[in-house]
């Protein structure tokens, strides 16, 4: 069985953490356990939130308790067949205006890393990211970070409002803001595409396992993309 830790997380949740040394395997395990619970409608577990190497399991404390749910988690972990099962994965290509008012923290991130702003852009736009999970505040596509030499510190003081479309990094992670919300992650740029669609059942056009790439556009290209929706390609 894969090595895991299961901790009480308040009176109606557990947190499963995968503790193998392999981040890909950890990610696949917690998403496997999430799917295991999702496939059991009527269970006292009413919500699962898988992220990178952990899973929050929220349950109805009137019907179940920690010991009972913990047993189910162990069963789900024991049924993990290992990584490598082929999964459907879509691609998303995101145009970004880097720097300036669009990415006000680009100079600070470059200075922190001791590289040029163009180096930061090249590293950010230079790889394909797997969406690890949908994060707060609103279905943000959470991925691993660019191939920076060191983790990027969060801002000392979070911004009270970061507009939708901002592209940010922190630690060894990266994401896009689907809607305006407070934010403490350094902003590298902004995409003119619309990401959130509360009229659609899917809300955001991606799910964990899909792949994102970024490409740089000039500020004067903003208008030619503005208002278009981000769409996944097969």
């Amino acid at each position: 069985m894969m090595p895991v830790a299961i901790a009480d997380c308040g009176d109606s949740s557990l947190r499963l953490t995968a503790t193998s040394g392999d981040p890909e395997q950890n990610w696949e395990l917690v998403h496997h356990v999430a799917r295991w619970f999702t496939a059991k409608p009527g269970s006292a577990v009413h919500c699962v939130v898988p992220t990178y190497d952990s899973l929050l399991i929220e349950f109805d404390m009137v019907r179940a308790d920690h010991d009972g749910v913990r047993g189910q988690v162990r069963l789900a972990v024991s049924e993990f067949a290992g990584r490598g099962a082929p999964r459907e994965s879509r691609r998303l290509s995101v145009p970004v205006v880097y720097g300036g008012a669009f990415g006000p923290d680009l100079p600070a991130v470059a200075a922190f890393l001791g590289i040029t702003e163009q180096d930061v852009i090249d590293l950010h736009a230079g790889r394909t990211y797997t969406i690890r999970c949908l994060g707060g505040p609103v279905g943000s596509p959470m991925t691993d970070g660019p191939a920076f030499a060191t983790p990027i510190p969060r801002l000392d003081s979070p911004r009270p409002a970061v507009a939708a479309g901002h592209v940010s990094v922190a630690g060894r992670q990266a994401t896009i803001a689907p809607a305006q919300a407070p934010g403490g992650w350094p902003l590298l740029g902004r995409t003119p595409l619309r990401i959130l669609d509360i009229e659609s059942d899917e809300l955001v056009p991606y799910r964990p396992g899909d792949r994102i790439t970024y490409f740089a556009i000039d500020a004067d290209e903003w208008d030619s993309y503005a208002g278009q929706r981000l769409r996944a390609l097969p």
Partner: protein, 342 residues
Amino acid sequence: MTGFWRVEKAGIAVVTDLGRTAGPTFGLAANGALDQYSAQVANILVANDPNAPLVELTATGLTLRAYAEMLIAVTGAEVACTINGVPRPTWQPVPVARGDVVELGAMTRGLRAYLSVHGSLDAPYLLGSCALDTVIGFGLRLRAGDEFALRRALPSAVNPHLGVSLFDFPTARPALAEVATIDVTDGPDIAEFGPAATTVFGTPYTVSPVSNHIGLRLGGGPVPRRVSSGEILSRAVPIGAVEAPPGDELLVLHRGRGVTAGYPVLGVVTSTSLDTLAQVRPGQQVRFRHTDVRTAIDRKRGEHRRILALADRVGNAFTSLGIDASQLAHALDHPLSTTVRN
């Protein structure tokens, strides 16, 4: 058509329910009534499904005019309820006649009141809930002039002109103490704070004015610092998480919380104490009390038994008066006697 009611005057008033339970999987906060107990009782007192849409008032009152007979209940914060200027009880079903003006005045204690209407009200749904989500701009805020259809007619046995209170159901009300006692269980990351973790118990904290449905900021007491280092990958945090971000205030996340965060979770406020926090005003004090998950579960289940008992009584009384109580079945099909220890 069974008529409608109109909002004459509204402060901070929103349509909500018990929350978007499935939301966090999609990165959406649960939201929903911050005082879950008071919201459930309000709905049960008018024979609604406990999870039916109702109105949540924050700090401010509401005036409405009925254009047909209706049955309402007001719970939560201590608030003066009048009909045509005559005081009426809260925490009981209250019949309202066509043409009556219902006024919910200043809150004297507590911060959030709930107004339920027999038959509930129409609201848009997202992922199984009508709860307001301020971040994505979803949900209904009440504004003067808004009209809501009454979805279920009342039998003439419920005559508001009798001038007496028909109902006297036993309802336990929140304590709304001046210094609120908040129960906290150990968080999954408590070890990261070393021995300083226990310093949150004892000294009272003061609720900061920037507190809201997303979280409460608490100042004036110790803020334990993380003793471990190393990068934390974002992970989902529970409602009630007690965090110690940079600065001199503790943060307690409530139902509007961003689902993922990178701060270690020191403790978690219990489900019943989250209802207490929903009623604490900025400037008021709270004191943390250490507890364990078993005690917290027992307390929640005790409260749930009282809710079921109330639903049973309301159902019997309403049925005898010819009032439709079929929606209460949703509360009663969840009996503790069949508690699953899965």
